[in-house]
Symmetry: C2
Subunit: 477 residues, 2 copies
Amino acid sequence: MELMIPLDGQSTVPMYEQIYLHIKQEIRQGNLKAKSRLPSTRTLAEHLKVSRSTTQLAYEQLLSEGYIESVPCKGYFVSAIDALVEVQDHPSGLFVALEPGEEEGIQVDFSPRGIDLNSFPYNTWRKISKNILVDDNKALFLNGDPQGEYALREAIRSYLHSARGVCCSADQIIVGAGNEYLLMLLSLVLGPDKVIAMENPTYKQAYRVFESQGYQVLPVNMDKSGLDVGMLDRKKSEKALADKKGEPDFIYVMPSHQYPMGIVMPIKRRQELLAWACEKEGRYLIEDDYDSEFRYKGKPVPALQGMDRNGRVIYIGTFSRSIAPAIRVGFLVLPKNLMAEYKRKAGFFASTVSRIDQNILYQFLTEGHYERHLNRMRSVYKAKHDCLMGELKGLEQAFWIAGEHAGIHLLLTHKEGISEEVLIARAKESGVRVYGLSRYVIHPENNQYPSTVILGYANLTEAMIKEGCRRLKAAWN
Amino acid sequence: MELMIPLDGQSTVPMYEQIYLHIKQEIRQGNLKAKSRLPSTRTLAEHLKVSRSTTQLAYEQLLSEGYIESVPCKGYFVSAIDALVEVQDHPSGLFVALEPGEEEGIQVDFSPRGIDLNSFPYNTWRKISKNILVDDNKALFLNGDPQGEYALREAIRSYLHSARGVCCSADQIIVGAGNEYLLMLLSLVLGPDKVIAMENPTYKQAYRVFESQGYQVLPVNMDKSGLDVGMLDRKKSEKALADKKGEPDFIYVMPSHQYPMGIVMPIKRRQELLAWACEKEGRYLIEDDYDSEFRYKGKPVPALQGMDRNGRVIYIGTFSRSIAPAIRVGFLVLPKNLMAEYKRKAGFFASTVSRIDQNILYQFLTEGHYERHLNRMRSVYKAKHDCLMGELKGLEQAFWIAGEHAGIHLLLTHKEGISEEVLIARAKESGVRVYGLSRYVIHPENNQYPSTVILGYANLTEAMIKEGCRRLKAAWN
């Protein structure tokens, strides 16, 4: 079977996506019948004059969505409709941010999880990868240091010191594959049966990890300066708090730019947090500095860790937002006094990041590419931020707008209290997806925040932002 | 400063290692003084006409061993001796297998952890990597499926089915970065406060993970067929067993080739294990099939998982041994009845392997490279195995030799009972490192096994094996 797929080399839609969309449509429209055999990825690639990985990516996506099946040693076949219905239940997770129109009828998706990959320095990344593999570097294929390669940790230390004011040595840094993994490792170091206070709303993935590790999580509501430390002592944070085991051992905070509220914690509140941590042995603050790189107004706010003189702050950072989610590299900075515990309780966990990837990242950092990339992204995101702020002008009578000047999303709180559900539903009817604040709230049934929706803008073009805002205004006014 | 480093392009010692060794020697001999500045990696690379990543790897190793220090924005400097002593305490983990002579005086290191990287298809790996990055494959830089890319899981499924007789669908496979991570994920799925029986001696890393997750571990001694299921019911496995919480919920076994004992579990014992698992709700067998690829005699033994008709076997495998440790890719195969639990309790853990690496591995598997590589490695390891068996001839009067025909190590048990410590010490005096069985024993203070040492041969040349055996005979006879 030969597939005639019209490819547009000038399109912004990547080749593999054009192939994927075409075959999907052919199957949906019944032009490709169930059980019919597709050409191999190699044949199709030769036929279309594209590389094989392009056709493989397209097939991979079709496989994961259940449109086609792979039969070992035989090839790829169009799925029967039954099979299709069954497998569509599986969340494929692919294209989450790339394909805003994936859900029927959605034209503009203000996803707060997206990042802009159009400005990613693919050439540089490719060149570094190639050079690393060109050498007869056998050692790269062996197991490395459980904490991550020393040179990479040193490069991270140097960056954190100059950009974030973090004070540490490379010995205190642990490199790992993603936040969930690192938080799991951290909870091994901190020990079982602990109580942790978290800002509410918060980064739900962190909440899920702590829950999965058997921690009791105390959600603490915020005022305009962020988490109110006084609430903890007076046990007012949530009425549930008084009934529970008691006071927290740790507080998980995002002082540089709270997710999702966008609050930058003022210095006084930070000092209160540090004082709280020093009051009792064994108390720690876990500072998640997930997107501090993006700030468009005023001076960058140094990390809480840099203010700490008593080894009470555990710092966690990631390259998922500043480089790309698939890089799968984040890092923990432990206070010196926790290093012995780390080595004893979790030091046997081999590093989850391959030495090859560590080496690529190391060169990306030390050769200045990271800094250049961040500068570029700051201006890309600032332009999108400014565009969105401008386009939201007509909505100011009905909404309070918050979270500007930093990060890659904004919050819109309705002044009259039209519910989140109604705002989301009306937006959806107009082909726009926005996200309710309540999805970030721990125990959303107790959500005390006024009706708020979140608009992420990182992976939208300015044209899409404009179109999205036009539709939102029509839907909400 | 210019460094004159004599490089030997014909040597089997890689370039970066020659550079590393030369500088280390210069520092040790005092030719390079503390605080003196080294050339930048770029300058040195240009000077020596090697690629920059070669000099970077050399410096990285020197950094991690504390011979040099990096001062941000200034460069690399020779460390003072004080600093050197301090940082040498850190286990760098580098070159564990590559550099047998690292410890003073050791000429031949029969490490059971080593693998042979001389036969690794670097060119193929490089070519695949290059092709994947050549395309404008933005999607690869986004987050993927938490279980791993569907196409890769399908490729693993197909391999497991044909090579190991494992029956599963791609939906039951979870790809993750390394065994420790996957076992941690598994213990989240299985729930807290469980009792797990493990073969004793065993793979200590797995033991450490289960302990770290709060599991009670019951070490069970083995007979010549492996773990004796009867021992569990009669609570005879170890006197500690009777005092403890009771019977196990799970059994962790390596039926294809027990590590480190090298026992291949006979069919009858396997059936007993499966019957044990079916006796009670919630019982599972965890089958670690870590090096089943290497078998030199007789038919390959299919996995226990393939015999299971009741969804009681959890299968775990890895590419660390069959490809390379640094690949950091392993996988779990869960029974269907555990998938809902997985999704509920651990499905939010994002994949720890980057999509780029998953794609490289996918192509390595599906384009036939893996099969060819395994065939090549089987013959490489068989030749080393046969060489070692031949060279051990003179030791047969004093030792029983076990664990042959499979895997990449042998066991030597002393017939007269000269202690492990003495055997190891005498070998060391002769410049040979061998490994005591007791390091794999849970609660080594209760070690009931006769004096046994382990000889791994994967990363030794035949000449080194011969030299090592010559020395061992002189030391032990």
